[in-house]
Symmetry: C2
Subunit: 500 residues, 2 copies
Amino acid sequence: MASTLLCRQLAVNLQQNLRLSAPSYRCISKAATKSSPDLEFDGPSMKTEVPGPRSRELTEQLDKIQNTGAINFFCNYEESRGNYLVDVDGNRMLDLYTQISSIPIGYNHPALLKVMQNPQNLSAFVNRPALGILPPENFPGNLLDALLSIAPKGLRKVQTMACGSCSNENAYKAIFIWYRNKERGNMKPTKEDLDSCLINQAPGCPEFSILSFMGGFHGRTLGCLATTHSKAMHKLDVTTFDWPIAPFPRLRYPLEEFVRENAQEEARCLEEVEDLIVKYRKKGKMVAGIVVEPIQSEGGDNHASTDFFKKLRDIAKKHGCVFHVDEVQTGGGGTGKFWAHEHWGMDDPADIVSFSKKMLTGGYFHKDELTPAEPYRIFNTWMGDPSKNLLLNEVLNVIRTENLLDEVSRAGKVLMDGLYDFQARYPHLLSAARGQGTFLAIDVTDEATRNNLIIKARNKGVVLGGCGERSIRFRPTLVFKQHHAHVFLNIFNDILAEYK
Amino acid sequence: MASTLLCRQLAVNLQQNLRLSAPSYRCISKAATKSSPDLEFDGPSMKTEVPGPRSRELTEQLDKIQNTGAINFFCNYEESRGNYLVDVDGNRMLDLYTQISSIPIGYNHPALLKVMQNPQNLSAFVNRPALGILPPENFPGNLLDALLSIAPKGLRKVQTMACGSCSNENAYKAIFIWYRNKERGNMKPTKEDLDSCLINQAPGCPEFSILSFMGGFHGRTLGCLATTHSKAMHKLDVTTFDWPIAPFPRLRYPLEEFVRENAQEEARCLEEVEDLIVKYRKKGKMVAGIVVEPIQSEGGDNHASTDFFKKLRDIAKKHGCVFHVDEVQTGGGGTGKFWAHEHWGMDDPADIVSFSKKMLTGGYFHKDELTPAEPYRIFNTWMGDPSKNLLLNEVLNVIRTENLLDEVSRAGKVLMDGLYDFQARYPHLLSAARGQGTFLAIDVTDEATRNNLIIKARNKGVVLGGCGERSIRFRPTLVFKQHHAHVFLNIFNDILAEYK
């Protein structure tokens, strides 16, 4: 491994020398310089269109096994480094999408490779335990060192799960169990409860509901999907629950210029939330919980004000609903704070906070009272994966040691200033630049133009992702620095010039 | 690592020498000998009650973070080897439960450690891709080499997922999508379909159902849970679907002695299946699929005859329902064939076969026509984990190279003969020994006695698991050999003597 890294360092040095004589990158505000030498590449390098011939060949192979309609291209993860994703045709791209926002500290981070090279850690990778019955010795300690060190305010319990959907599914179950227990006055379930639940009938299986928002995304398993309302193709033809769906505020950006209009819009949505809670109660489908993303991500990077979330949290309390903040995409530092809900500045922001993606393991934090009294109620074979906890622990060390959240804020400012500049210069094309930290988005005139921009950017060496109907979302790693923002802005500037 | 293994080998040798002078193990039929020298221990070694003081201390720590009611004890996975699980108090136990049937070739198998030590593989562990959009170069090849090399008859497509529940959830979605597409006559969805599905309404979200069986277990997320009917505590208080639930045959064992009675019981259940399909069709809840385990595992190791499954498969065809065989627990070799449904000897056994546990990755095989035509319909961020595919590939190599399925049959015969002997000698205590390969079970008089037996066995160095109301299930690894069966039988023989 050491020799591979050495070869790569030599290659990088060589490239830097070449770069000095190549005037291909121009910068809007200042030169794209790097603050410290590392093993990362210093810019994109494109050899073919993307997907290139090798990617297309592999897509054909895979198409015999799976639907490949969503495949962008095939990757060479061994050669990828930091913010640069290398594909199988030798193209090297600056990655601002990061596997749908799930690479925390870049590709092949040396600290993570070191975790893998430590013989003491191997056992965690080859012996996956049934964590709920036979955990490894270091499990409680690792939870304390890693996950609980970043627990949201007021939440001292955590349950790991294998992915984001499983996290939300189990959080919903914990919500139902808590709610029914409250209804039963903490009494033990009756024989009728126990018998009827086995055959999917009330009273054992009550008709509860989770209130969610239009445009929200909470996963694609059947329970989660009942609260997901971002794109029709996610939900089409799948049997679901009749659960209440409230409108999510459709704000005008920049937020500071439309304070009054936005406040009205938010008030309208909050009123609808309360109406729905009452309406579903009358229908006999008690709203046991409210689930919401701090920023609707898949649905189009839709923001709401701190005031909105405070009032929503109050409504949940008033009506005895669990308040579940889904930070699967927003969590892990991209907004400049570890959890996006920290921007609300509340003392008691949530009863449940679910996570996955950049956290490497799925799971959810929760209030003490949301721990079921009985075992096996929140349970499955694996209940997460200690090998992911191990890697997460190291990710958190790197975030702290390198003050990455400050870096995110700095790089985010450069990126945001660039987006503001673009939308000022191309108002017919771009609008509504918005976001926090590097968790940013901008709207494009229409879906087709947005998709074209993404493809053009890719062919110039930048990986971007779409969201909503016509937005581009920016989801770089936490090691995305100011100079990376400049690399992106220069390339995008060139692309936009074609739209003058 | 090499030095650790060397130390361990020395320790094993030392132990073998000690063992020769220790007469503690007696054997029912023949001496517990090992066929070949390996790095495994040669017997249990107990130092404390289980859970011991260190396990109890760690349980107290973990209890501040999670419900610990299901924790058996804490493990030292680094020191565990082959069929022997070592706990944090230095107790070494022969493991016949294997993390709820999910350790395929034993703890710390050298072949798996080697995978981890190969620098070329590290990247797969630290760069988890979004497989649905940006797969690694070796992804199609690995699917072909590993998963598709063991694809059930007639199934040429495979979709990986993170766990068993996600596998079944997505299989159910694929079933619904296929069924609705058929209803629509392969036409594109209408605008009304697309609009209504976003708000959880028909026609976009049709009211389909999956028929399942009493006693079945298919996972604990909301969709899966609607088809799980093994224990009340899994389902209590969780909102669910009104889906049809058929009786699963309650057979008398040994099967060959009760052929006529069992055939009648199976006919009764099959009749009920057809009645339910018709009844739910009339209710407007078309039965889009039937899900069944080849052996109901969590529900109590309930078997049915090949004839039952053939007729059930025919009913599915007759009524246009997808036939989904859930091999999450039965798959991977424990029954002596790679898939339990192979024992049926059918040409077209299933439309979908889901897997997880011993397969290390979740997922499901399916017929070509169950691939949705559009991308993003079966999709999530990770869609499995290539690092698990890598380990699975090596597991399959070991299974083939070491002819482990033959070993399973041989060891299973010793185990089964022992169980038959026990139930003949303790008819007031044990009954209904049953199973295939090493995938065996036996019934105990009542739940309390079953639980006591399991605790006593643990304190004598054998890890067992319960299932159903009063059964013990045997789920050893695929490297569980005849001599391991003898070790277990000797210990259990001693325990049973107390019940004379």
